[in-house]
């Protein structure tokens, strides 16, 4: 029983980070109607930005995270403005090719800049743990989870309560009508892509203490992001939270009770099951 709780807790903590990745992908899909194939690479950019600030420039770890988010956001805005905005009215395959291309170029730039050797981050809390009764918590994952809750809560508040959030939701639901209300949907698109990149970069920074960073791991996380968004329903932010948690727990249980080398496969199996049984996603509702 203790072991089971332990595994679920680990799954929930990792799932929170997956939710962050999925929310970004979901927001981008909702507003821009593009599937961002570079999403996992954005996460890897976050990992290497973190490594760069922490290992090379020796920036305090608590300062690194806001910096990584800022870098991600700016990169996202610039990429959207110069590479995606020009093809906004082009057929769908144009945006697929463009985001695949962005991912390829970014991961190869990382390879060029940081080399082929897997890298890890060494912080005091990378390996430290704390205990609650018989359950052990990784300090790094706990920090990640707390930040996840804060970030998702903040984002939900922005989306629900502010003009910016209403503009984002309006642009997602009906772009022409949003323009007719005076909403600059071009700016909303740039911002949303920036937010998506920033969230992925944050997820990269949060996952870094448990993983080896390598420029080629992007596609694995793109896939995870797809699983999370499809589980939750495309374009559905609240659903992405549920999808992230479900993926985290599924992976964690599968890895513990079946085989840890098939960790990634359990998420995909859950994904197929959901697609078969509920094509609109677990929390999806049919669009009208």
């Amino acid at each position: 029983m203790v072991q089971f709780v332990q595994i679920v807790v680990n799954g929930v903590f990792t799932g929170g980070v997956y939710a962050i990745i999925g929310i970004g992908l979901s927001l981008i899909f909702g507003v821009m109607r593009i599937v961002n194939f570079a999403h996992g690479v954005f996460l890897v950019v976050g990992m290497f930005t973190t490594l760069f600030f922490f290992e090379r420039l020796h920036v305090d770890p608590f300062l690194v995270i806001p910096l990584v988010v800022l870098v991600g956001g700016l990169l996202g805005i610039v990429l959207e403005r110069f590479l995606l905005e020009p093809i906004v009215r082009a057929p769908e395959h144009a945006s697929i090719l463009m985001t695949v291309g962005i991912g390829l170029v970014l991961s190869n730039l990382l390879l060029f800049a940081f080399g082929d050797a897997p890298q890890i981050i060494n912080t005091r809390y990378s390996t430290s743990t704390w205990h609650l009764g018989p359950i052990t918590f990784s300090t790094a994952l706990t920090i990640a989870f707390v930040l996840t809750v804060v970030v998702i809560g903040g984002l939900a508040l922005i989306l629900e309560r502010t003009d910016l959030g209403r503009s984002i939701r309006a642009a997602a639901q009906n772009a022409d009508a949003a323009e007719l209300q005076g909403i600059n949907t071009r700016r909303v698109r740039s911002l949303v892509f920036g937010i998506g990149f920033a969230l992925a970069a944050l997820a990269g920074a949060l996952l870094l203490p448990q993983l080896f960073a390598h420029p080629s791991i992007g596609p694995t996380y793109t896939l995870k992001a797809f699983v999370v968004t499809v589980l939750g329903g495309m374009g559905n932010v609240a659903g992405a939270i549920g999808g992230g948690l479900l993926l985290g727990v599924t992976e964690s249980l599968g890895a513990a009770y079946v085989s840890s080398s098939y960790r990634d496969a359990f998420g995909l199996a859950a994904f197929l099951l959901v697609l078969l049984l509920r094509p609109a996603g677990l929390f999806g509702r049919s669009r009208t």
Partner: protein, 240 residues
């Protein structure tokens, strides 16, 4: 309330979609305080005219001017900030937002943000039902209520000129009466109105002036009541 400077002028406007040209040569004028109707058969180019004015569609040739501003060179959201709002055909509400959220999206502009509270009160005074339903999702409203919400949302940007595209389409006869009443209320508040309608008789009755659009060209123009009496309009649009 009436600002003599803000006349909407269309000069030799041409517009279309892809290979299809819809508007061939549309010239018309809407002066401040006027209620002008634009009538014509389905596919004549009424909606296209409004979309071109709102910059949802780029004009191929010709000019759209509002006061001293050339609208055909501006983006749609900047035109709203100038005081030209459009209530699109089929309402186009943000269905998964509440009534009040729909209204608030119409007032996030720098010009209208400070007036948000009073504009909201004004819209609720015009449509008391929307106040009762303010926390309901827009998709749960009836057709007539949705049309009221669409008009209310258009008013939230405190427009000088409001363009209404087929506001009575698909509504029950009693609601149609109500919509035409609201259009007159809006005009009485000093807001200029450009009304596109299939309900030709009603539209001509309340319009100061009207234009008749046929295959992308203006073929008739004159005071509403005069057109209502004209043999051509009666034959082509009223079936009498």
């Amino acid at each position: 309330m009436r600002d003599p400077g803000f006349t909407l002028t269309l000069r030799h406007l041409q517009a279309g979609y892809g290979d299809v040209q819809v508007l061939w040569d549309v010239s018309l004028e809407v002066r401040p305080g006027e209620l002008v109707a634009l009538i014509g058969a389905n596919g004549a180019g009424k909606t296209t005219t409004l979309r071109a004015v709102a910059s949802l569609l780029r004009a191929r040739d010709g000019e759209v001017q509002f006061g001293t501003n050339r609208l055909d060179r501006m983006s749609a959201h900047d035109i709203v900030n100038l005081g030209v709002a459009m209530v699109p055909e089929g309402r186009q509400l943000f269905n998964q937002m509440t009534v009040e959220e729909n209204l608030l999206t119409g007032s996030s502009l720098s010009r209208t943000r400070p007036l948000r509270r009073s504009n909201l009160d004004r819209v609720y005074a015009l449509f008391p039902l929307l106040r009762e339903r303010r926390l309901q999702e827009a998709s749960t409203l009836s057709g007539g209520e949705q049309q009221m919400l669409a008009i209310g949302r258009g008013l939230m940007s405190a427009p000088r000129l409001l363009m209404l595209d087929e506001p009575s389409l698909g509504l029950a006869p009693t609601i149609v009466e109500e919509v035409f009443g609201v259009v007159q209320d809006i005009r009485r508040e000093g807001i200029t109105v450009l009304l596109v309608e299939q309900n030709v008789q009603q539209a001509l009755r309340i319009a100061d002036r009207a234009y008749v659009l046929e295959s992308g060209r203006i073929v008739l123009a004159g005071p509403g009541l005069e057109l209502l009496q004209s043999a051509e309009v009666r034959r082509a649009y009223l079936g009498i």
